[in-house]
Amino acid sequence: MAEAGKILSPPAGRHKERPDQRLNVIGTRMLRKEDPRFLVGRGRFVDDIALPNMAHAAVLRSPHAHARIRSIDKRAAMALPGVAAVISGDEAARETGPLPCFASPPVEQRCIALGKVRHVGEPVALVVADSRYLAEDAVALIKVEYEPLPAVSDVMEAINSRGDAVLHPERGPNNVAEHRQYVFGPVEQEFARAAHVVKRHLRWARSGGQPIETCGAVASFDEGSEKFTIYVNSSMYNYIGFTIATALKVASHQVNIVPVDAGGSFGSKLFLHKVAVLAGLGARASGRAVKYIEDRIDNNTACDNHGSDRTYDVELALDSNYRMTALRYKVVDDYGAYLQYGLGTHGNGFSQTVGPYKIRAVGAEIYAVFTNKCQQGACRGFGSEVTNFMIERIVDAAVDELRLDPIQFRRDNFIQPDEFPYQIPTGNLYDSGNYPGALDLALQLLDYHAWRDKQQLMRTQGRYVGIGVASCQEKGVFSATEFWMLNRVRGFALTSSPESASIKIDATGKAVISLHAPCCGNSPETVAAMVLAEQLSMDPADISVTYSDTDHGLPGTGPGGSRYTVMIAGAVTGAAKIIKEKLKRVASHMLEAGPHDLEFRDGKIGVKGASGLEVSIAEVATRAHFFRLSLPDDPDLTSGLDASYTYDHPLATLPKSDSDFGIFYPIMGHMCHMPVVEVDAKTGQVSFLDYVAVHDCGTMVNPMTVDGHVRGGTAQGIGTALLEQFEYDKNGQPQQTSFQDYLMPRVLNLPPQVRIGHLVTPSPYTEYGVKGAGEGGRMVAPPAVACAIEDALRPLGVRIDSLPVTPARLRALIREAEARKAPSLRLA
């Protein structure tokens, strides 16, 4: 059992670069290296790939939520001129294996449904034709006979389903995929002696990343080498490449995955398997290169990456001094038809399940349930954004019920700046933080007390204005144990999530860095170039960045869980150190000075304290590449200037037991958001009068791009709070299949300005003290906005227990509240 509190003998850091040094490039608002190509329309996205004699694929999507496939008649489709292949589930199952799955025991998903469809949109057949238009014509000619099965849409009904309403009968007699219970610390004792217990029933609706670019792949199969080449917009291609090969029933060296720019991901393009396998299947069957790009309906209904869909019953125990002591919750999570990440999103939540507070004990009961919906995947926060919502809502419930001050109550319960590294009850470690500092900065930026005065005045004018506050964690850098530690059977218990970089300095002193996960809106090229420029005192313009395919790739995991900047900073620093040593050795010979007397300055290597006594990196590089015989005869001093480095997780341990998961997500960022909203009580419309976002991600490599993540993540979080949801009717029919129905924030839905405050509390464990920031505002905006709306409607006593707060839903809440206040009015 992990005891919560300050760790007295903290693990030592292995970093090479301290945060408290004078830096020249890191910390500047350098313009992004990625941008010029995108600005002129020369990014290389997956649909921009065109191979010789390339054919195009389209899928026949299931119109049923749950049905047996009795027969497929593809004759008319095959007879259409220009059609190269029509592949059913039975045929696909001879050529491909199940799609990859982290759950153990696994849940079988096929790239084309085999025997049974389990959600609307699931592929039933794949057509390959000369053009996408023809492929879609042929899709319309396929005749499928379905035997409808009972569709399960309501998660509580799903728990009790029997017989034909069970999606995966081989796993058990009902639709409960997993039911797990965890106790971290003295939960029962704390609740037994609590002075106050606050309870809430909370609902977080299903939404998704839904980037503007859908998922897609272009595959070719070379019969000579029996090898696939697959372009796919996955940002984790280098980590999961072997799983694509396995699904295509070839050895891993028979698939080369080539990265392309990804037009947004937000988690949804990390673990892309289906599109790559479909394109590969079509290519091998047709003997042609095949492009398969999801259309928007495919993406909304079958992208395999809907977000969490949870209902919580949560209780918070407090002592007589209003100190939070224990948290206990039951969560029911509607996972949809499959379970590709197992309970990974709940494992993720355990990394920060007490938020920034000194809660000593946590009890969790998790139901993961199958329904006839698109399966869950990753969505900016990977489940922890929902944990944050749960914690902050129950904190606000305590504020409300016990008549506490929302600021002081948080402040009194924060883990204090001198208590780090801090172990939380689940065993995870928080490396560092300054939560009161973030709160104070937000209060000051917002001019909180002035807004409270204005709010009072506006209330007298009949206006419903509310001020929200949320203090949330942003865990960074996953160790990978979260993907399996909640599995009943351990299965594939991976423990590494490394990241590599290769650096080559050519004979003229220009550098190329190779990374292993493409740009998806993050700034990997900018970050890598800035770190190398810092290391070698080079001009960032002399550095270019490229992405390795899997044939040439080194161990790398890619972005996700706010890890990539930390990890490439580590990998580039490691590789740069090797190169620096070699540059110094060659320069030392050229300058006739000892390597220890040399320093890097302004693109040159010079003798310390002797200005003018120096050689440029370009001169040293030329010597290193082409003039071996003028260097010392040392067999270790080979020609060239290149190095690779694989950076492992900076601080992680194995899970010890089901009540102590060890250190698995320790690089802990923090955010404090304070929105000011106005609710139009007549229409249920929410608008923003102000918005302050304070963010602490340690040392910022580039404050400009951090701001971008804060603003963009906040916009997405506001979407989650007010607009976005994937609903299914009782027959399992999805209600949001296009962007006309799936509402995402536009300019006018958002605050005119998000005012950002940066606090810098460096990590003691990473290079330069960098922490993650990629999940950004989406981790905190939803509870902050919920808090603000509740505050605005306090005169009416409206509670916000469920997101999204659409105008219709808010109007319903207001009507109920008014009816409660004046029951006689309702009768009239």
Partner: protein
């Protein structure tokens, strides 16, 4: 399907192609002409990633047939600057971090190109209202609005130099 001949001017160059009447303008531009800067996002006119100018008017190319562009002028993102010679608008987006993944960017640039031809000095509110036409999933728009303001400044500067 019977093909028809279409003559379209794209970025000042005349193209004559035989195409199916059902071919979308977005596919024509991307795959027949090979200008892949124009992107397709939602395929029903909601997101605006595919925005091009058709005779100067911002148009959803995913909801327009290529034959409808017959005899007309299409302008795409490729008509703006080059990597080593960005237009003031592109420069504004670069300087103010007006893009992250870059997928909606070409549509945004063309939408704003139309705006700035109508009104070379739009205020922030005018810019916000126009940008409400398109969806960006990465930025939260604020930096895009600032990018357009910066572009206006840069364009004024260019005029002053002339």
């Amino acid at each position: 399907m019977t093909e028809v001949e279409v003559n379209v001017t794209v970025n000042g160059r005349a193209f004559r192609r035989r195409i199916e009447p059902r071919l979308l303008l977005s596919d024509f531009i991307r795959h027949d002409i090979g200008l892949t800067g124009t992107h397709v996002g939602c395929e029903n006119g909601v997101c605006g990633a595919c925005t091009v100018l058709l005779d100067g008017l911002a148009t959803r190319s995913c909801c327009t047939l290529a034959v409808q562009a017959g005899g007309r002028n299409v302008e795409t993102v490729e008509s703006l600057g080059r990597v080593n010679n960005l237009s003031p608008l592109q420069r504004g987006f670069w300087e103010k971090h007006g893009l992250q993944c870059g997928y909606c960017t070409p549509g945004m640039l063309m939408l704003v190109t139309e705006l700035l031809r109508e009104n070379p000095n739009p205020d922030r509110e005018t810019i916000r209202l126009r940008l409400n036409d398109n969806i960006c999933r990465c930025t939260g728009y604020e930096d895009i609005i600032s990018s357009v303001e910066r572009a206006v400044e840069l364009m004024r500067g260019e005029k002053a130099v002339r």
